[in-house]
Symmetry: C4
Subunit: 175 residues, 4 copies
């Protein structure tokens, strides 16, 4: 019962984050295909972030379904995750507006990394409440991708300054 | 129980998409009726898309009510639908700002078509889980309009380049 | 059970409408009290519309609680109400930006009137489903204000062209 | 049961308020770190307000969980709280855009104070319905911080005009 509201609030924030990213794609003034050109990188960055947020929503859904009761600690651990995800529209707009150049790509990686860490902490908090022998703990123990991704985000951040497109590949592959 | 959250998230996204479209109607600076003139095509495009989204929400509502349990496949099939619907504010603003000219009208049709296909896949996914003999499968089998609409959207897209207003008629009739 | 989703969707739309109105109050560039001056009429128009929407939300809440089951007719009757309410941010911004002059004030009344009519139709639809002898039908029968307000909105619309501030008084009193 | 909708509506409004604050952080046009500089104070003001709203959401959650039934009085008492919280994006953007100078900092305190008072009234309304001997009444009686904060907000407002950074410290400490 109590879980409902934490889920509803997180869903609300995620739904708004997704739709706010669309606002970065400003309606062009011209009416030919040419006018759509400057929108293209913004569209690509939107697709990239939409998939990320879709995955976060899916994982968040499964995580909370597996959790028993919502404690104060879980409520607090959920807020940093929402905070970092709320910065997605900003960094998404920045990489889109600058056609995926170095500094914006690196900052995109920073926000991704911090969101991944926040998600990790939320996961730990829920496992701590469930006990280390629970089914949730076991399924997370096998989650190799979850453990590798922070390392890969860090590599992508460094790569952004040398070859931004290689960082882009990592972001796409980490989906 | 589990369905609640998928519905809530979809409702959230749809509710925000609808209200974000209103933001394209910029508050005019003048204070006479003349000042409202440039807003008129944006208002008409808003009405067109509002009705579409209202219908999508209604159908989505019935579809999920008919579905038994939410599987991972259904959760994934729901995301592309939300993605294409989230592009409605952009294309709605574009056709409104250019008073329903060719290229924007065609792009409007493209997004409509892709949303219709995404909805079709979601429907198939839910039917696959329910079994081909279920009541849902039967009611969809009789859905002639659902099968015709992709064809009509494709026709409307071609028509946009010759007679944009004829494409507009199809969009209105497909409601 | 089924009611949940109609309520959640309406709540979502209403919550977003309320918060989108705040976006019309652009953050001023100066940092003294003088800089707040142009925001003042927008703030007043925001207060006016916030109270209206708060009341609509409250009434909608009670109305749906009283209704038994959500039929297709009720779902359709709910959409026009949401449509007219979704125009509140636009007309609110317009009266605020023009300091409550004639034409914007009249348009504000038009949207209020249409929202009131849409609410009335929704009410009728729910009563029709419940039966004319239900408790809901009785309580609405005594609702004198609900019956008077369309007339008063019409008067306010006419007054807007002569004495905008008198229309404003009616809008405040109709709360 | 009845509580659900009040909670959902409040959650919706809070979720949107949080995400709308991000919109104040405009995507910079440059693509180097220099371009991020003007965004920094806006980011700091966003962090400050995000934490406030996170706390409000948490407290609101506990308060409503403790309340038994939602009466008309509670529904009305909830609206002013949402109203003052809805002004957060505006004052947050204002202090961020002016790098925490006097007048914006004072106005930030005013809105904080009014939100705190609205929350206090909501609390009183719920306690009144529960009875003075309830567990809720007891836990609130011990809430020293809740009683001190209005006084401290008032002090911060005065301090804003002398030493804005001291007001900032109070805002941070009151978290």
């Amino acid at each position: 019962m109590e879980k409902n509201r934490l889920e509803a609030f997180s869903d609300g924030v995620l739904a708004i984050i997704i739709t706010i990213m669309v606002l970065e794609m400003k309606v062009p003034h011209g009416s030919d295909l040419e006018a759509l050109k400057p929108v293209l990188p913004l569209f690509l960055s939107y697709v990239l972030s939409f998939v990320y947020l879709g995955i976060y929503w899916n994982n968040h859904h499964h995580l909370l379904k597996a959790s028993g009761r919502v404690t104060g600690a879980i409520m607090w651990a959920n807020l940093p995750l929402l905070f970092w995800l709320s910065l997605f529209p900003f960094v998404t707009g920045w990489i889109g507006e600058n056609s995926f150049t170095s500094v914006p790509m690196a900052l995109y990686g920073v926000v991704q990394l911090l969101a991944a860490i926040a998600y990790y902490i939320l996961q730990k908090t829920i496992v701590a409440q469930q006990g280390r022998d629970s089914r949730l703990a076991a399924s997370i123990g096998r989650d190799v991708k979850g453990k590798l991704s922070p390392v890969l985000y860090a590599i992508a951040m460094v790569l952004s300054f040398v070859r931004p497109w290689m960082a882009g590949c990592i972001y796409v592959l980490l989906h």
